[in-house]
Symmetry: C2
Subunit: 245 residues, 2 copies
DNA sequence: CGGACGATTGAGTATACTCAAATGTTGTGG
DNA sequence: CCACAACATTTGAGTATACTCAATCGTCCG
């Protein structure tokens, strides 16, 4: 997940908390968006930071001929819009009906100068976002379709309810978003979902709802552990140590 | 270029300058490395920042089964090692005979608290690094082999001597590094080099030396402009406006 | 000169792609 | 509430791009 501040990730107070403390009226700047609506576009001046209040957003970039890459999904508690240049290099769009708190940059900067905690939190967050993007890039550059989808499902699951996640994950984004996030086509994503279903790794109660039946197997696939691919069905053992390793 | 501070990129004083000002004896901590030598490994504690003095370094990560992704190349003036977690998530290795200034983190942090300029420079740099990684990811996720290599050559050329670059670029890294940087195999990289040569886009005086004969054509390929692919040979016109657009 | 390594080239293949059609889902108006 | 339209997703068939495995070529050193 490139470019994401996760409210759960820090041992320090979360950026969201700090902001809501320092800007007691920040909810006055909350704006709602409908599905597909653009918050900022590529080339727009970077005037604000954004704190996700409700729903799901995505950060995207387009090539000139219309290909699209999704760089991140932002969930409630995440901050985005921290691009350093004068203009945004990514567009931020609402995936579904969602809401953002809009935080003017000058005010944030002033607070940063005054409050070392906010300062440190933002810096830590920015560098952590970089770390989070590493896995994403490794996946895109060096993994098969099934590894990418397994990684995606594992990551989403663990973000929704850390540290272990629920076994049923609601996917607010549509298949095209997943495809563009993973650097695949929508057809390949769909086929891989079907394949996972047939292998008993997941079930699909509804199209946008995934029940993860065998989280360990999925996690091993995601870790690019080639052995996992040769284990289609059994494997009842837990394997949490492997995650930490 | 993920994770890179480029000494040329900023309108502010470069991080390198600030560090050498604030740490007048930082050159006492300069360490030399031979080709392939590891500066820090994945999992090592994050005790220092690093400033490249001479030569070329790469940031890499391995999957469990040995696949490798190169995330960045660091040139003199670049800073690396700014990972926020307690341990490094990437390994940093010397590509050739190279040297790093080793900057203890606690000292840097102290200076950051005291000196808002250093602080701002590092923050700007960290977020800029994020922006720089965007193109890399877009390439890896959504481009063909020839687009990736065209982008790589264009980027290297412009980094070596901004803003336009020399027409002859010395590649200190070997083909495997390029392949792992672009998410391709070494064979595909090699074939694409050959193809570019046959199309008259480049020439290869030596294996590690690329002469860029048609920078505009290469740049258009890199920009994922599909029209460029249907223009194999002629095209004498300049096209700098397209870069800015 | 020979060995080691890096790079290129060749042949065949697999994975994910494209184009196309069918199916499923959602939302809207009658 | 149902029917229909619009859209999202799945499935199918064929193909292209980049991969794998293998051999050759070139270059740098000892």
């Amino acid at each position: 997940m490139a470019y994401v501040f996760n409210a759960f990730a820090g041992d320090k107070p979360s950026v969201g908390e700090l902001l809501s403390t320092r800007f007691p009226h920040f909810d006055a700047a909350v704006v709602s968006f409908t599905a597909g609506q653009e918050v900022v576009g590529e080339g727009d001046p970077t005037e604000n930071f954004f704190l996700v209040i409700r729903g799901l957003f995505r950060a995207v970039k387009f090539t000139r001929d219309g290909r699209r890459q999704v760089f991140a999904f932002y969930m409630p508690g995440d901050i985005c819009g921290l691009e350093p240049e004068a203009t945004h290099k990514l567009s931020i769009e609402a995936v579904d009906r969602a809401a953002m708190a809009i935080l003017p940059r000058p005010a944030c900067r002033l607070q940063m100068d005054v409050d070392p905690r906010l300062n440190a939190a933002l810096f830590e967050g920015a560098t952590r976002a970089l770390t989070l993007s590493i896995d994403h890039m490794l996946m895109i550059g060096r993994s098969s379709a099934e590894e990418r989808l397994a990684w995606f499902l594992t990551m989403i699951r663990e973000r929704v309810a850390p540290p272990f996640g629920e076994n049923v994950v609601e996917l607010a984004m549509q298949r095209q978003d997943i495809a563009d996030y993973l650097g695949l086509t929508i057809e390949t994503v769909s086929r891989t979902f079907t394949q996972f279903k047939e292998r008993g790794l997941i079930s699909l109660p509804r199209k946008r709802s995934v029940e993860i039946l065998r989280p360990d197997a999925l996690r091993r696939l995601a870790a690019a552990d080639r052995d996992a691919q040769s284990i289609p069905y059994p494997e009842p053992a837990r394997d949490l140590a492997a995650v930490a390793a």
